[in-house]
């Protein structure tokens, strides 16, 4: 059968089946199993109403169970087993994990994933916040928003093609067709290059370092200075805060030492670069693609949150003589903190699953491998179900804190 026709049939059968299921199961419930007639009418109505929610939920629960819950456990099981020829499995305990931990490609993926986890949510949120602030103040803000938001509709693969054109390299001496190389060749090592390629990055790094220092301070504040009215933090928050503080401190150190490297580095001016093959930096070039896609999402949500801030709070701050920076960081940002967290976590989840961009642009070569692509490699190229599933469990483990946090919030909200 023609797939298009089959699709049409499936729509009809699927939709019709759903409607039919809900309609007839309700009739069967009301008319036959618990009829609202006879001596037990009252009790039957109650019973029918107890069963009905499950009728409504059944298809969804089955689909969720089979397509999302079961695979988690099945993957866990697969990761503990070794596939033998002929669809047989042998329990091997943690051997798959051991194999995986012994592979350099795995550690490369872990390292790169951590880079992605730091840079992409941070940059996307920052750009989103900036775009929201700017577009909310101009008369053509809606058009600007739509254009910045647009990459959201573009597939990761499509975006990869778009950016690959930008990163394209032609031999030296011929016209460059990639935008990045065309711009790069304009730098020649003069004062202009010094400002843009040395001073500007150094300033950005310093800003990041300051931000991280602030993070360390925020994480440690309640532990040492008990200024909070809410009292001492809870016991489980202590290690969490310690970890956050340590991570921030490490990044602080990293960014400060990079400032020196920036000034020390010798840049290959005047030569066209094959950007995607330069280790470490190529990761950043891949990340830019995702930042480009996700910033619009951050902008839309943060712009709504910023508009939701009660005007009185800002007015009060203005009357008290706060400058624009203070208004932004001390009045606005704290009020949109929850939204910032939501944006950050949503992008973090996208980052953990990122696969298409790496597959399409470098396929993990030149030290750009990430976990999701590593897993795909193992599962569908080397057909190593065990190690592939183990990699999957690592992704699941990384998602777990966010999952717990989301569930915790929803439970709190529903009470």
């Amino acid at each position: 059968m023609n797939p298009a026709l089959q699709g049409l049939m499936t729509i009809i059968i699927g939709v019709g089946g759903c409607v039919g299921y809900f309609f007839f199961s309700n009739i069967v419930l009301d008319k036959f199993i618990f009829p609202a007639t006879g001596v037990n009418a009252g009790r039957n109505i109650n019973r029918a109403n107890q069963v009905r929610p499950w009728l409504f939920l059944a298809p969804a629960i089955i689909a969720l169970g089979v397509y999302l819950a079961y695979p988690v456990f099945a993957t866990l099981w697969l990761s503990l087993n070794k596939e033998l020829p002929g669809k047989a499995y042998e329990f091997v305990g943690l051997a798959n994990y051991q194999t995986m931990f012994g592979e350099t490609k795995f550690w490369e993926s872990m390292k790169n994933n951590m880079l992605w986890l730091i840079f992409v949510p941070a940059l996307s949120t920052a750009f989103g916040l900036l775009a929201a602030q700017l577009t909310d103040r101009i008369w053509w803000g809606n058009i600007a928003k739509a254009l910045i938001f647009m990459p959201m509709a573009i597939s990761f693969v499509g975006a990869s093609v778009i950016w690959k054109l930008i990163y394209d390299t032609r031999p030296d001496g011929t016209d460059q067709i990639g935008l990045l190389n065309a711009v790069w060749l304009n730098f020649s090592g003069g004062p202009f290059s010094f400002i843009f390629l040395k001073v500007l990055p150094a300033l950005l790094l310093l800003a990041f370092a300051a931000f991280m220092a602030y993070g360390v301070y925020l994480a440690l504040k309640p532990l040492f200075w008990d200024t909070d009215k809410r009292g001492k933090p809870q016991w489980w928050a202590v290690p969490l805060r310690a970890v956050v503080a340590l991570g921030s401190a490490y990044l602080l150190w990293l960014s400060l030492s990079s400032v020196f490297n920036v000034f020390g580095a010798e840049l290959p001016y005047g030569k066209a670069q094959t950007w995607l093959t330069i280790p470490f930096w190529n990761n950043l070039f891949l990340m830019i693609v995702l930042v480009w896609i996700q910033s619009g999402f951050a902008m839309v949500i943060l712009s709504a949150a910023l508009r939701g801030i009660p005007e009185e709070t800002v007015e009060a701050a203005v009357i008290d003589g706060a400058n624009p920076f203070q208004i932004f960081f001390k009045i606005k940002v704290p009020q949109i903190m929850t939204t910032l967290v939501v944006v950050w976590t949503t992008i973090t989840i996208t980052v953990l699953k990122v696969f298409d961009i790496v597959l399409a642009m470098t396929n993990g070569q030149w030290e750009t491998q990430v976990l999701a692509n590593y897993m795909f490699d193992k599962l569908f190229r080397s057909f190593d179900t065990g190690v592939g599933s183990a990699a999957g469990m690592i992704i699941m483990l990384l998602v777990m804190p966010i999952l717990v946090w989301n569930v915790y919030n929803v439970r709190k909200e529903m009470r």
């Binding site: 729509i11 969804a60 999302l68 700017l134 647009m150 093609v161 007015e315 399409a360 795909f376």
Partner: protein
């Protein structure tokens, strides 16, 4: 807008310019691809797309004189034109690669043996000789010319309707549609019923189920690939459209339920309770009141799901397969990038075809998309 509190700043123009730069940065990449898809392969690989927007002076690839000789005024003559693009203006020309700019337009170059050639500024050339040109090796002409923008739609014709050049992009387009439409429609109804139950029916375990849905929202679908493929094979669905529709339905449900429940719970309680008092059953309440009122939420989920299924690569590769016949657009793009990474005219055109549909959906339905995002995130 923060309104009256932000006084009209003297630095408004800074805001305008910064916003303009930001927008330009975000639009430029896509725009470059769009422009490239209207250029020929030669043009793409010899100059940046930004140059094709205005008239540019550049050295063009050499062309050999060709054509049949005719006799004019007792001389043997070959006439022809170098360019198809009518607006091209020759700045200089030459007959050897060492001196490509040796002559001005209209000048005549002597090739020896009484043979001479001249190129006019519009690119037409005349080669003339006292004797026949049949046995003469025809020279190549090097030109440096001003070329105006010269968009072509040949790429689109090629990619969509020529199976050889496009490597089945047309077929992939149909495949993608076949995947995306049922995978968008089917989960909506299932999710709507479940969301209604979670929002407006009281039963033990409801809170737990909502929590479970929120938890499943972030489960990486990578985990589902192998177990589900095995399951599909075991129950006889195997690889194919049925499998991918089911998979997309399953993966889309948590978001659908979550979005719809958040929306439905905000509907006015009075309407639903009045209907109950009037003797409406839950089924009637759902179909007659909840569904019509929830249209905005249904629309926003439908857009999400459509964009997601259209743009998906992973699920399609695994559940549909990577053969030529069953490739979706994203899959065929990845193949093109691998096998014909240098053919930018085909790659950029295919890519633009693949992103055109989501872009149209995006711009037409943007209102619902934003609304859905906000319902799902701002709490």
């Amino acid at each position: 807008m923060t309104g009256a509190s932000t006084r009209k700043s003297p630095l408004t123009w800074v805001v305008h310019i910064s916003a303009l730069i930001l927008v330009a940065l975000w639009v430029f990449p896509t725009f470059g691809l769009l422009v490239s898809s209207f250029r020929t392969g030669d043009q793409i690989s010899t100059s940046g797309w930004w140059r094709s927007l205005m008239t540019q002076e550049q050295q063009l690839p050499a062309k050999r004189v060709e054509g049949l000789e005719t006799q004019k005024d007792g001389k043997f003559v070959i006439e022809g034109k170098l360019f198809e693009n009518a607006g091209t203006v020759v700045g200089a020309w030459g007959i050897s690669s060492k001196e490509p700019r040796a002559f001005t337009p209209g000048a005549s170059a002597d090739l020896g043996d009484g043979v001479s050639i001249s190129v006019a500024s519009d690119g037409s050339y005349v080669m003339s000789s006292a004797t026949t040109l049949k046995d003469v090796r025809l020279p190549r002409i090097f030109t440096t010319a001003q070329t105006p923008p010269d968009p072509t739609i040949d790429n689109y014709n090629n990619v969509l309707f020529n199976p050889e050049a496009g490597q089945g992009v047309g077929q992939a387009f149909i495949n993608t549609l076949t995947v995306a439409i049922p995978a968008t429609i089917i989960p909506i109804l299932i999710a709507a019923f479940a969301a209604y139950a979670l929002a407006w029916m009281d039963f033990p375990g409801r809170a737990l189920l909502v929590a479970a849905v929120v938890g499943l929202l972030v489960v990486p679908l990578q985990l589902a690939l192998i177990p589900l493929l095995q399951l599909h094979n075991a129950i006889g669905i195997g690889k194919g459209y049925m499998g991918i529709w089911l998979a997309h339905t399953g993966f889309g449900l948590p978001l659908a339920i979550y979005l719809l429940r958040n929306y439905m719970i905000g509907l006015p309680r009075d309407i639903i309770e009045n209907a109950r008092v009037d003797g409406a059953t839950d089924f009637q309440i759902f179909t007659k009141i909840i569904l019509p009122l929830s249209f905005p939420a249904l629309a926003s989920f439908a857009i999400f799901q459509f964009l997601w299924t259209w743009n998906d690569l992973l699920v399609a590769l695994v559940f549909l397969g990577a053969g030529d016949k069953e490739l979706v657009l994203t899959g065929s793009l990845v193949n093109l990038m691998g096998s014909r990474g240098g053919d930018w005219e085909i790659l950029s055109t295919s890519a633009f075809i693949s992103i055109a549909v989501p872009l149209v959906v995006f711009f037409v339905m943007q209102k619902y998309l934003v609304r859905g995002l906000l319902a799902g995130s701002v709490k």
